[in-house]
Structure formats: structure tokens, C-alpha cells
């Protein structure tokens, strides 16, 4: 701790001065810290806990091994909730008013906690701690690994929020001290630190939106044209293009896994793989039916058409232990056959492969690669994810929170309307968020829709699950 303090500026020195005057300011932290660490007991030294949530910054003031459960307080005993409840006016970020900054950060922390389902998080981590203390835990290493990994992740989240709260309290204390002692330099620095926190808090709010189990994984996005022939196949292709450019804007790698073109234009169905951090977390907001209203370029009578495209998003799980176990004997692998005598008689570059999982009827096709071997490998990856998805769905039916596969999406489940005629608008039917520039949305500018949906879906429940 001493060495950490040395790396800080004069502010740190002053703060330690303050702390030495205050009646043991750490008393409410350390006892709980040790309590928590004993609670965690067996997870220490596990690789799983070692890779807990990456913290944006290393622990600043307290290197206590376990996060704090009770809310941090200022020197005069204010908590984050108390600050948020004071109803201090929140002014623009440019205004140098510490109360405004502090109130804004406190509000953010409250929102982050809500999004993370804070109470549930604490409850769950207590439960896991009990499980982890069971002496027979490691008789089932797969289960033990899973539990300790989950605990590690939960602790990481708790710790990072607590640290953020702690930081807020320290800045407030420091600012008050600076005022008391008339130290202008320190006051400016603390003010700046609070303003920084306010900006960071916004970022953390967004990050907290993506705290679902599978949010951090890459995903497949599937688009299927609804009834209505060429016009809806063209719409499906437009939707697919929208996701491709959206993914590229976000810096994700996009590969086409399967594409079934329409006879005249567009696609009947297509699957792309979107690779990158939190691809599923964002893209899952897009699951459902997308509706287009426009004058169809394929209608010589220039009439207005309404068409639909269904979108499904499937996470690609990285964690082998939670994956669906596929039996080779349950698979039927169909490949392109040249139809003739084959072998040396034929030369074809057609190498599509389709795999059927017989017990569930799930299928996957790949025609993107140039060899059958590679197409089979890709199709297997798709099949694996579809089966994982089925498994997640089965497990999540208890939680009522589940993502749907393409076949399950009912055409009545419209999530967004794109109107190009007679007026121009894109409106999300779930959040009522709308923009009047459909072109930019169709070019992949989807983030606002996504954030709106994520925040509305997470913020409407009270976080006390």
C-alpha cells in the first residue's frame, strides 16, 4: 500500500494525511474483506479466479484480496445511495461543480448496479461461496471448474463496482479536505478526477448492458426472407448487408457461412459469422422480424409493398464444458455428389456440405469454403452452435430469458419497421426509438437502436430478481 501511495501525487499524500486524522477510515472495509476471503476459501489460486473480469484499473488504495460487500462511505459516512438521494442538481459536464459530478457518478453507479442485478449478484456469489466450500467439490472437476469460474466472474464484477464507489468517496473526501485547507491545486485536481469519473461512468453504464452469460462470445447471424417472393428476398439481402456493415463498423470479422440466393434477386436465407468481443451481446438485440414498407422496384405497377425478414442470432460458445455433446453416430453428412462415376472421372469445384443431427433434426450447411473437408468443419461449427443454442434454450426456459432460433421466431414478432414510403422512418417497436434516416440505418448505423433496446430491456426490471 505504501508503494502505491508513493506513486500518487501530492493529492495522495494529503489524503493519507486526512486518513490518519479520521478515526480508522478502513474499519468498515477490512473486516468484511477478510470475511469475504474466508468465504471464498477454496477458490484461491484457481486459474478460473485468476482470469476474473479484467479491471480497467488496478486496485488503487486497498489491495484487499476480496471485494467489499458493504457500501463504501465518505469520511462523514455518506454512501453512494445517500449522495444519489440528495437530489443535487446535475449540471452539464463542463460546469465545475463537485456536487453535480458526484451526483452524476452516483446515479451511474446506481444504474450500473441495477443493470448488473446487484442484489441477485451478491446473493448468487454467497450461494456459490457455500458450494465452493463443500469438501467433495473437486470430485467433479468439471462442475467445480464451472462454479469457481462463475464465482470468479461475479467477484470481478462486484469488485470493479466497489472500487468505483470507493474512488468516488475518496475524491469527495479529498475535495472537502482541499477546501478546508484552501489548497486550490488539489481542489482543481480532484474536480478533474471527478469529471473523469463521470465520463468513465457513462462507459461503464454501457458495459454493464452486456453482462449476460453469453454476451462476450462471437455469434452467427441468420436472416430469412418472409413470404412475398422477390421483394422480400431483396429485403432479406438488405437486412443481411445492414448487419455486415454494422459488424465491419464495429471492427468485427465477418464471414459468410451459408447463402441461398433468390432466383431473381436477394437471398432466401443466409448465415454469417461475426467474430469479435461482445458480438452476441450486441447482436442479440436484433432477434425478431424486421418489416419493410416501400415502393417495390420489382413491381412494374409501382405499388407499395410490405415485406418481412426474420433474424436469428446464435452465440458461439467458447467454453467446451457447457457445449452440447454431439455423437458422431447421430450425424448424417451429405455432400455434393457429382452424380456420375466420380473419382478420377469428375472434376468439380462444388464442395457444399450439409450435416443433419438426426435426433433433433437440426441441420447446417456450408458452401463457403473451397474444399469439402473445410466445408464440413464449418458446417460442424454451425451445427454445434445451433445445438448449443437448443441446449441454452432448454435450460433458459426456467429463466424465461431466452434467445430464439430462426424456426421459433413467429412472423408476428415484429421488432422494427423500416418505412421508405410514403414517409421515411425506422422505428423500433419495442423501445419506440425512431430515426428519420433509413439509409444510414440500412448502412449499418444500428448502435443507437441496440443500446436503446439493451437499456430498456435491462432497466425496466427493478434489479431485485
Amino acid at each position: 500500500m505504501a508503494s502505491r501511495l508513493l506513486t500518487r501525487s501530492t493529492a495522495a499524500v494529503l489524503l493519507s494525511h486526512l486518513r490518519s486524522r479520521a478515526p480508522n477510515p478502513t474499519h468498515h472495509i477490512l473486516p468484511h474483506g477478510t470475511a469475504m476471503s474466508s468465504l471464498l476459501g477454496p477458490t484461491h489460486g484457481l486459474p478460473a479466479t485468476a482470469r476474473s473480469c479484467p479491471l480497467r484499473e488496478p486496485a488503487r488504495w486497498f489491495s484487499s484480496p476480496a471485494p467489499v460487500v458493504e457500501a463504501p462511505r465518505t469520511a462523514d459516512g455518506m454512501t453512494v445511495d445517500a449522495i444519489a438521494d440528495k437530489g443535487w442538481t446535475i449540471l452539464a459536464e463542463a460546469e465545475s461543480d463537485w456536487r453535480s459530478h458526484a451526483a452524476a457518478v452516483a446515479q451511474s453507479i446506481k444504474l450500473i448496479k441495477k443493470r448488473l442485478k446487484w442484489k441477485w449478484l451478491l446473493e448468487r456469489s454467497k450461494q456459490l461461496a457455500v458450494v465452493l466450500e463443500r469438501p467433495d467439490l473437486w470430485e467433479d472437476p468439471v462442475f467445480a471448474g464451472k462454479v469457481s469460474r462463475e464465482q470468479g466472474e461475479l467477484m470481478g464484477k462486484i469488485k470493479s463496482v466497489n472500487q468505483f464507489e470507493q474512488e468516488l468517496m475518496e475524491h469527495i473526501d479529498m475535495l472537502r479536505l482541499a477546501r478546508e485547507e484552501g489548497d486550490n491545486e488539489l481542489e482543481t485536481e480532484s474536480m478533474r478526477a471527478l469529471a473523469d469519473m463521470r465520463r468513465n461512468a457513462k462507459e461503464k453504464e454501457l458495459n454493464a448492458l452486456l453482462s449476460g452469460d453469453n454476451d462476450s462470445y462471437p455469434c452467427f447471424i441468420e436472416v430469412q426472407a418472409g413470404a412475398g417472393g422477390i421483394e422480400s428476398m431483396d429485403w432479406a439481402a438488405m437486412v443481411m448487408n445492414m448487419y455486415r456493415s454494422w459488424a465491419q463498423r464495429r471492427g468485427y470479422a465477418v464471414t459468410v457461412v451459408e447463402e441461398m440466393p433468390g432466383e431473381v434477386a436477394g437471398i432466401k436465407r443466409a448465415t454469417i459469422k461475426v467474430d469479435g468481443d461482445y458480438a452476441f451481446g450486441y447482436a442479440k438485440s436484433e432477434i425478431g422480424v424486421h418489416r419493410l414498407v416501400r415502393i417495390s422496384p420489382f413491381d412494374s405497377g409501382k405499388r407499395r409493398h410490405t415485406s418481412f425478414a426474420a433474424v436469428a442470432v446464435i452465440p458461439i460458445l467458447g467454453d467446451a464444458s457447457s457445449r452440447y455433446q454431439i455423437n458422431d453416430s447421430d450425424l448424417r453428412i451429405e455432400r455434393f455428389r457429382s452424380g456420375g462415376p466420380g473419382g478420377q472421372h469428375a472434376n468439380t469445384t462444388e464442395s457444399a456440405v450439409r450435416i443433419v443431427h438426426i435426433p433433433t433434426g437440426t441441420t447446417a450447411t456450408c458452401q463457403n469454403e473451397r474444399s469439402q473437408h473445410m466445408n464440413k468443419a464449418s458446417a460442424m461449427a454451425v451445427l454445434q452452435s445451433r445445438l448449443d443454442q437448443l441446449e441454452i434454450t432448454r435450460q433458459a426456459q426456467m429463466n424465461a430469458e431466452h434467445t430464439q432460433s430462426l424456426s421459433e421466431i413467429s412472423w408476428g414478432n415484429q421488432i422494427r419497421s423500416y418505412v421508405l414510403h410514403p414517409y421515411r422512418m425506422v422505428k423500433d417497436l419495442r423501445t419506440n426509438y425512431e430515426v428519420s434516416d433509413p439509409d444510414s440505418v440500412l448502412e449499418g448505423d444500428l448502435d443507437d437502436f441496440i443500446f436503446n433496446f439493451l437499456s430498456s430491456s435491462l432497466d425496466k426490471d427493478d434489479g431485485n430478481v
Binding site: E259, G340, P341
Partner: protein
């Protein structure tokens, strides 16, 4: 036989647009009886339309995209004499059909200086402005007849293979591995002369490998991928010595070598010097020089020193009966080496030779697998080996390929 079976007919106007120098004219064609005969057989063969139906069925089963399904064109069913490079003439039907010749218009060949380095391995040193490339793409796509949509896929791959793989600093200029006029000539030969796409780009994607190929070397077939899996299922294969006889491009040898342990080796033989050269290139490209030894010579001949020490013998020898050669798909019959296809009268000449050398080459318990012409040949061979050499071999059986044809014969030495 598949979608390639459709005779391509680039429109004469398209030819003019592409390059007047390449436009075929009947006067520039060498009189070539065998060529006439082979296209005659190809067009009239009832099996070609039958196999198309079979393909359409299998495709339906696979729910594949419609665009990959060739439409039976009336042109195919009723071939008309045309001014195109493959004139139809039944008068020459009596000519020897043993050798499917390679019809090439001298105009085209003269324009393509043969660079033995496969296109995809050449350095990307030819700057081409984006508009020129786009214009080429349009011209090339215009040559694709509606009944051969797979050629659009080939065009996409050709441009992918011809482009530099590294990020392009200047989006207005593309760096290509060949000048644009050479690409035009390559594309024209692919569409018009039915030169296999794999020879055009110089590679075939096979298993997880990109195998370099060029004229004179058999293009590895997807069916053959299974041979490698069979080797992988042999107990203790990783430390054994293996022989790949008639290795061609070396695809099998490289794929097997990549699975082997530190003590495993592959001896790959081929009688063709081009094959030896290409196989060596592929072995080097995958860094398998320490595992694969390429030897020049026919079948077992170069392997005297390892006789009786081999854990396995693999081969995809020529097995097509000589009489079937003229009826082959043009990509195969006109362009691939007869040496790698022609299996003699019943297609069994080389397979039987391999069987005879087997028992002295393999060590006890050793494994062998041969690719064959299909059901009858596999059944005959399996029966022949287990009857004639019942004391030497066991568990001899015919194995199905992915199209449910008995494509392979495998077994163990006692």
C-alpha cells in the same frame, strides 16, 4: 459428370469484346479428328443427361441453392453444328479415340507464356487500377453462360487468388500476381477450352490444404480426402513408415505426414517428373521435408531399401478403363494427364501390379488402401486379393465414398 457437362457457349460478341486476338475462328483450328470425336461422344452420350438428373436429385436432397443447379439447356440436348472451337463431326467417329486430345487454339496458347509457378504463389507485382479490374470483372462475367453459374464462383476465386493477400495501401490500385491480359487469357481458356479451374489458379483446396497443381499433374479429388482419414484410424500409424505410390501433387503424402509423429515417414514415388517437381513444392510449402521423401520412379521400384518395413501402402493409381477415356468430362479428358488416368483395358493394370508388390513391401500387420474406379472394380479387387493371397492378407474390404460408391479397397497384411 456434373454441371461442367454443359458445353459452354460464349457468345461471339463477348469474344470480340474480350480481345479480338483470342476470338476463335475455324481457320485457326488444327484439324483434329480425335477432338471432334470426343466432343461428339460427350454431347450425345445419354449418360451425360442422366447424370445431370441424378445430380439435380442429389442437390434437391441437399437443399442447395438454386443458382448452383445447372438448367438443362436445349442446347445440350440438341447440339447444333457451330462455328465454335469444338465443331461437331460424326465422320471422324471411326478415328482412334484412345487419346482424348487437348484442343487448343494456337491464338490462345501463343498468348499465354507458360510460367511454371502457380498463379497463387507468384509475387503480387502487377499494379492494376481499380477501374480496369472492375472492367475485367464485367467482361469476364459476361462470358459466363446462364447455364454454368459455377463459373461466377470461379471468377471470384480467380480474382481472390490473383490478388495480393496483404492489405492494400492504395485502394485505387490493386496489386495482382499476373498482368490483366494474362488473366484474360487464362479466363478465356477456362471458359472456352474447359481448362480445369485448378490449373488456371494453380491450386486445389483439398482437406485443409491448398495443394499446388499444374498441367501434367492429376488434380486431387474430394473423394480421395477419405484415404487420409483411413490412415489416421490405423493403430499406431503415427510412428510408421508409409508409402504413397503415384503421389502426383503429393496431396496425400503431405496430409498424412502432417498427422505423423516424430518417427513417422512417408515415401512418395512418382514416375512423372512434373509430378515429382510439384510434389516437392507442396512438401516444402507445408514444411514436411523431414517427413516426406519424394522418389522418382514407377510404383515400388524406388523403394527397394524399405521393402518389408512399411506400415502402410497408399495409392490412387490410374484406374479408368481405356475405353472410357474419350467419354470423360472435357476438363478431365482434354486436360489432365492420361498417365494418371488410364488404367488399361479394364482399368486394373496398375491396381493389379500394386497388389502383387504389396506382400513383400508391407511389414506384418501392415495396412493398405487403394482408390478404385468404383463398385465393380472394388468388389473384384477385394475378392481377388482375399482369394488369391488368402494367406497373406486379412480384413480385405471395399469401402464406400461419400457418394456411396465402393471407392476404396483396404486391408491388412497378416
Amino acid at each position: 459428370m456434373n454441371e461442367f457437362s454443359l458445353l459452354l457457349k460464349p457468345s461471339p460478341s463477348a469474344h470480340r469484346r474480350l480481345s479480338p486476338a483470342h476470338a476463335p475462328s475455324s481457320s485457326s483450328l488444327q484439324p483434329c479428328n480425335g477432338c471432334n470425336r470426343s466432343s461428339a461422344i460427350f454431347l450425345l452420350s445419354p449418360s451425360s443427361s442422366l447424370s445431370l438428373e441424378a445430380e439435380a436429385k442429389s442437390e434437391e436432397a441437399m437443399l442447395l441453392s438454386r443458382s448452383t443447379r445447372p438448367i438443362l439447356s436445349p442446347f445440350l440436348r440438341k447440339p447444333k453444328p457451330s462455328r465454335l472451337p469444338k465443331p461437331f463431326s460424326s465422320a471422324s467417329a471411326s478415328a482412334s479415340a484412345l487419346t482424348p486430345p487437348t484442343p487448343r487454339s494456337p491464338a490462345t496458347t501463343a498468348h499465354v507464356p507458360e510460367d511454371p509457378t502457380p498463379l497463387f504463389l507468384r509475387p503480387p507485382t502487377h499494379p492494376v487500377p481499380a477501374p480496369s479490374l472492375a472492367a475485367f470483372r464485367r467482361r469476364a462475367a459476361a462470358l459466363v453462360p446462364p447455364n454454368a453459374p459455377h463459373l461466377h464462383r470461379h471468377l471470384r476465386w480467380l480474382l481472390a487468388d490473383a490478388s495480393s493477400s496483404t492489405a492494400n495501401p492504395d485502394p485505387a490500385v490493386h496489386l495482382l500476381r499476373a498482368p490483366l491480359d494474362e488473366l484474360e487469357a487464362l479466363w478465356l481458356r477456362h471458359v472456352r477450352d474447359r481448362r480445369p479451374f485448378q490449373y488456371v489458379v494453380g491450386n486445389e483446396h483439398w482437406r485443409d490444404l491448398v495443394v499446388a497443381v499444374r498441367d501434367g499433374v492429376l488434380i486431387p479429388r474430394p473423394e480421395t480426402e477419405a484415404v487420409v482419414d483411413m490412415v489416421g484410424s490405423v493403430e499406431g500409424f503415427g510412428d510408421g513408415w508409409w508409402a504413397d505410390l503415384g503421389t502426383g501433387s503429393g496431396a496425400i503424402a503431405v496430409a498424412v505426414a502432417r498427422m505423423l509423429g516424430p518417427r513417422g515417414r512417408v515415401f512418395a514415388t512418382d514416375v512423372s517428373e512434373v509430378a515429382v517437381e510439384v510434389a516437392r513444392l507442396n512438401v516444402e510449402r507445408y514444411g514436411m521435408q523431414d517427413k516426406v521423401e519424394i522418389r522418382h520412379g514407377s510404383w515400388f521400384e524406388p523403394l527397394e531399401d524399405v521393402k518389408g518395413k512399411l506400415m502402410g501402402v497408399i495409392s490412387n493409381p490410374p484406374y479408368i478403363p481405356t475405353d472410357d477415356l474419350p467419354g470423360l468430362q472435357p476438363e478431365v479428358g482434354w486436360h489432365e494427364p492420361k498417365l494418371a488416368l488410364d488404367g488399361g483395358k479394364d482399368g486394373l493394370d496398375h491396381l493389379l501390379h500394386l497388389c502383387e508388390g504389396l506382400s513383400s513391401a508391407l511389414k506384418p500387420g501392415g495396412f493398405f488402401v487403394f482408390e478404385t474406379n468404383g463398385d465393380k472394380q472394388s468388389e473384384f479387387l477385394a475378392d481377388f486379393i482375399s482369394t488369391k493371397w488368402s494367406s497373406s492378407f486379412c480384413n480385405v474390404e471395399a469401402v464406400l465414398d461419400f457418394a456411396d460408391i465402393k471407392r476404396f479397397v483396404r486391408g491388412y497384411r497378416r
